[in-house]
């Protein structure tokens, strides 16, 4: 078996927040991400699911080395990139790209779309100027924007079109890993489906591996092979996508699933909502689990945070 294209080992991030009460009150540690381990096998899509404050976006940024982890390691294709200098990191940057939710603020308003998409080629010194432009136009065409869009500017586009441009720019270097942080959250229903299909197609064609960060379990169900659920900075459950939908074990995962609106009015049901405290108290007690809460395998490939009980 070859190394996974992306691996996170025991990644943690602690922010120091000023304590209330003035200058000399000191800091409190906020554990945004705690001991997160993930593997992204080649040519698969892994969903990283959670709500705001769960640490999923922080994990994405650390994966890209856009934020320094407090501890833990990041491996691309088996190579440890955690401690590389910016210069050493540059060849790996080609291998991993990121797309954000708000693509409008991520696109330079003063540049044409062709230049925006060609920019990574320029930065990495790949090809001559005409070749770069030609590749950028071909890439725009591939993501569903006619080559004539190359001369346009970001403000002329709709939200879905801008997201296509962001994807084109991310993929022009033919990376192995794409980190997609809520790329469909700001989009309309019909456009959302278009972008999901585009990601599925590109994954197939380019042999891409995607870390798909989202709060939307419905999107995750259609798009991903595996899911990792984050809560309070840690992964509480991970399994093949359909296993999560059919056999969720952790109370937080179950809560998330039951919060999905039904798509048939006759399925309306009263729900019970757990508070964060109730979730923490409801960590599954399983025979064979350790004395402190930790991920515990309940079936092959299905891990749930559990304690001995």
């Amino acid at each position: 078996m070859t190394a996974p294209v992306l691996e996170l080992r025991n990644l943690s991030k602690t922010f120091q927040l000023p304590r209330k009460g003035g200058w000399f009150a000191g800091h409190i540690d906020h554990h945004a991400v705690r001991d997160v381990s993930l593997t992204l096998p080649r040519n698969t899509i892994l969903g990283l699911v959670g709500e705001s404050g769960s640490g999923k976006s922080t994990t994405g940024l650390m994966t890209m080395r856009l934020m320094e982890p407090t501890s833990g390691r990041i491996l691309i294709d088996g190579a440890d990139i955690t401690a590389l200098t910016p210069a050493e990191l540059k060849p790996y940057r080609r291998q991993m790209q990121i797309v954000f939710q708000d693509s409008y603020s991520a696109l330079d308003p003063m540049m044409t779309l062709a230049r925006i998409v060609a920019e990574p080629l320029h930065i990495h010194g790949i090809g001559r100027a005409e070749e770069q432009t030609e590749q950028a136009l071909a890439m725009l065409d591939r993501v569903g924007l006619h080559r004539s869009y190359g001369q346009r500017y970001p403000h002329e586009l709709s939200g879905g079109q801008r997201q296509r441009v962001a994807i084109a720019r991310a993929l022009i270097l033919r990376p192995q890993v794409l980190v997609a942080d809520e790329p469909t959250s700001a989009l309309d229903v019909s456009v959302k489906a278009q972008i999901i299909n585009l990601l599925l197609d590109l994954q197939q064609e380019m042999g891409l591996s995607i870390l798909f960060i989202s709060h939307d379990l419905s999107v995750v169900r259609s798009l991903t092979d595996r899911v990792a659920v984050m809560f309070n900075g840690r992964i509480v459950e991970t399994a093949a996508t359909e296993t999560i939908f059919s056999d969720a074990r952790h109370p937080y995962t179950q809560g998330l699933l039951s919060a999905i609106p039904v798509l048939n009015p006759s399925d309306r049901r009263p729900r019970r909502f757990l508070t964060a405290d109730e979730i923490e108290r409801g960590i599954p007690r399983l025979p064979g689990a350790g004395p402190t809460p930790a991920l515990h395998q309940v079936s092959p490939g299905h891990l749930v945070e559990a304690v001995a009980g």
């Binding site: 709709s158 309309d188 019909s190 259609s222 996508t241 998330l256 048939n264």
Partner: protein, 320 residues
């Protein structure tokens, strides 16, 4: 007399790309106690319809015309400022999308609820404060007094949305317009807020207009659905019928494009193309450029709204 009576509403406003025709001939009637969902994507005119119903659009620059636009018998087109203020908050209230920006940052939540109560009743300050506590309790806030004394920036989005609902309900309105009330919230909070709105609607027996882009929200909360696209109503009917047996091609396409309906990683049935440009909408049916079953007529003449079943209407040349 219907509670909400909107006939042939047109709303437009000048913007730099031209005259934006946000709503183009919208009709909607709602009886007391009814719950109706207005579904559509951005630019469909769903929010503008609500804003126009309460006359919350600045006019000018926006232009509003309608054969009829009345709330509880008050003609909102000709009402004086004072009459409008009497209807708003008392007859019809509104809950907005982003709770974080819906409160005045320099006053406490309590102040803002109390001033609403006192704008419509002659309750004393202490009586209004007691009512505010009861309202916060009613929206299942466990510590009403501390929330009352909090400033907006001190609270979470979910808590603020509960407070906004309490504020909207403070004068027992006959109808509540909820404009994407859960879009800015986390998934689990969204489910809680939807459950709350649904429960309160039943408890208070008020009408509800739920404006949303999310068909799931509609399936959860309302009895009747209005599907809008390009400033027009495409289809309208009881919620179960619309989900079981959508008739309009747009409704069908919208339902089919929802992710996660069936198990397994899979391509979705997408709607090709883009939403119409509201400054330059296509002639005929606004959906025809993206419609897979469009007829020649669709590109030239907008179809009229016709009865297609009990309580069901649609506007489509294909439905004859």
């Amino acid at each position: 007399m219907p509670l909400v009576d909107i006939q042939n509403l047109h709303v437009s406003f000048p913007q730099h790309e031209g005259l934006v025709q946000a709503v183009r001939g919208m009709s909607l009637t709602i009886e007391a106690g009814e719950s109706v969902g207005i579904v559509g994507e951005s630019g469909s005119g769903k929010s503008v319809t609500c804003m126009a119903a309460l006359r919350l659009l600045r006019h000018p620059p926006s232009r509003i015309t309608a054969d009829r636009l009345s709330l509880d018998g008050v003609d909102m087109l000709t009402a004086s400022r004072r009459d409008l203020a009497r209807v708003r908050g008392k007859v019809a209230s509104m809950v907005f999308q982003d709770p974080m920006s819906a409160f005045d940052p320099v006053f406490t939540i309590g102040h803002q609820i109390v001033e609403t109560i006192r704008a419509h009743t002659d309750a004393s300050l202490s009586a209004a404060t007691d009512q505010a506590v009861a309202l916060l309790d009613r929206v299942r806030i466990k510590t009403p007094l501390s929330i009352l004394n909090s400033y907006p920036h001190q609270l979470s989005g979910g808590m603020l949305q509960r407070a906004m609902i309490a504020m909207a309900l403070s004068c027992r309105p006959k109808i509540l317009f909820a404009d994407e009330p859960t879009t800015a919230l986390d998934v689990t909070i969204q489910a809680q807020i939807l459950a709350l709105i649904k429960d309160l609607q039943a408890e208070l027996g008020m009408g509800l207009v739920m404006v949303t882009h999310d068909l799931g929200v509609v399936a959860e909360t309302v009895d009747r659905v209005v599907v809008m696209y390009g400033g027009r109503v495409m289809e309208e009917g009881p919620v179960q019928a619309i989900f079981d047996d959508p008739q309009h091609p747009y409704t069908r396409a919208l339902l089919n494009s929802i992710p996660g309906r069936t198990p397994g990683k899979q391509r979705l049935t997408e709607i090709a193309g883009q939403s119409p440009n509201p400054a330059n909408p296509p002639a005929g049916c606004p959906f025809h450029p993206r419609c897979t079953v469009a007829l020649p007529d669709c590109a030239t003449t907008a179809p009229a709204t016709r009865q297609i079943g009990p309580g069901r209407t649609a506007a489509c040349w294909g439905l004859t």
